[in-house]
Symmetry: C3
Subunit: 202 residues, 3 copies
């Protein structure tokens, strides 16, 4: 499971970077950008833990998370525009992060005795709330509500993961397969510029 | 009490519709609109439960709520503009929802041993937070902070309900009377275009 | 410790005023302004208590807080523009509030067994979240993310306070010294118009 922990940390790091970058574009200072990075990285897990009444909150009990996020601030600052050269790598790890946050959120909710539907919601909340809070703090209409198949990918991943549990797939395989599905859906949807239908205005 | 449960579900459904509609007007996709509908419908109760430390959160323990909210998405989509023909019916059920959320929130807080003042606040939070979160996600200055006697109606309802408890009114009667007061205040204030005084700019 | 309780209440009062004033400028009604005042004053402590799983939430258990906040509404209304004549006094008590919220948040987190780093974060959250929520509700990019050494002052205060604990300074002295540091940093930074560096846009 150490690989999963490592990937979870990398996902956290990449989420923090995404927050810091968006904050930097609206002229925030270093502190503001750090806060937005922090909230982007831990927002989803925090809301999940509060809803599940799971204490201590994950990042409050494992200092690795806050430190990884803090490290993202000078990293982003030093890399600057060069980050654009790594957008594919960032995209991959961002998507792996989304996948893992979904899976970990689901597993946690299931272990608390919630049904698969609620567990799927907790998985999606883990993956999605950080980005939504980032956008609210930066006064954007949350990105995932307008573009990208981001959340749909989580949803599909959650369903696949649950099926894997029901079919008693080996855990590693189930992780791998779920992550692959999420990466595939997100990549394909971006490549072919797919998006969900807009709601009719009513 | 089954009637109250039914009305609570209808209120949830109508709150979800209000979220979905506002989301649809700012060009959200189906997923975004669903999230906004969800948050509008369960936001108030969730914050109330977190503040009271009441777990599991209501909608996480009773699947009827999430299912009713999910049903609101295709319903709103299929009804489309025709919803405008039912704006009076929607208004009535929305107001009944507000009234019930206020009462249920108060009763819960009182049963947790909080005093009537805090219980009244929990009632108002139950009724109001969903709509506020909806407006923040859609980048509006929250509607209830600018227009309508919405929250004042909740406040009056909370006071009436507490008086009913103190006077040992039969529960059904107290529910009915409180709801009637809230509906009356809201209807009258809209009909006569009443609103609270603005704050002086200071 | 009675002086600290008194200053904490004054800080709460001044935070509420700041919320009410900003709300009044964007044309909110009396109710909206009251809510924004409330959230500004108790937002930080509430999020801290939820994260620490500390129940009941402080202001739900001690009615003095809600009453002090409620009193801020007519006070702000009656004072009106005259508040501008007292901006120095308000600034002092606002800063004392920030300092005390930081210290009290830290002490609470430490008493819950969290390490000094997490405790420092809880202190800053106590001091900062109310203002951030106020700005989100009023559709501003949160002020502290753009201007002022506000949060840096909290951070410095948190470090000083922790050093004081480690050095077993008498509690009163530690409170006094920490507060003095925070007031000094904030005053100097405003006087000399210091601010944190902006993030480079990336």
């Amino acid at each position: 499971m150490d690989l999963i922990y490592l990937l979870d940390l990398i996902g956290t790091f990449v989420f923090a970077i995404s927050g810091i970058r968006i904050a930097s574009r609206i002229n925030m200072d270093v502190f503001g950008a750090s806060v937005v990075g922090f909230v982007t990285a831990i927002g989803g897990g925090t809301v999940r833990d509060l809803l599940l009444d799971s204490h201590p909150i994950t990042w409050m009990a494992d200092m690795t998370y806050p430190l990884v996020i803090l490290a993202a601030v000078p990293f982003t600052f030093l890399m600057g525009k060069r980050l654009n050269n790594y957008s594919k790598t960032i995209f991959i790890f961002d998507t792996i992060g989304i996948a893992l946050f979904t899976i970990i959120g689901m597993e946690k909710a299931l272990s608390f005795g919630f049904n698969p539907f609620i567990a799927g919601m907790m998985g999606m909340i883990s993956a999605v709330v950080g980005g939504v809070t980032r956008d609210v703090l930066c006064r954007e209409v949350p990105l995932i509500f307008r573009k990208e198949i981001y959340a749909t990918a989580c949803l599909a991943g959650a369903i696949i993961f649950y099926l894997g549990l029901e079919l008693s797939l080996p855990e590693n395989l189930n992780y791998l397969f779920t992550t692959a599905v999420i990466i595939t859906i997100r990549t394909v949807s971006i490549k072919w510029n797919l998006s969900l239908p807009k709601m009719k205005k009513v």
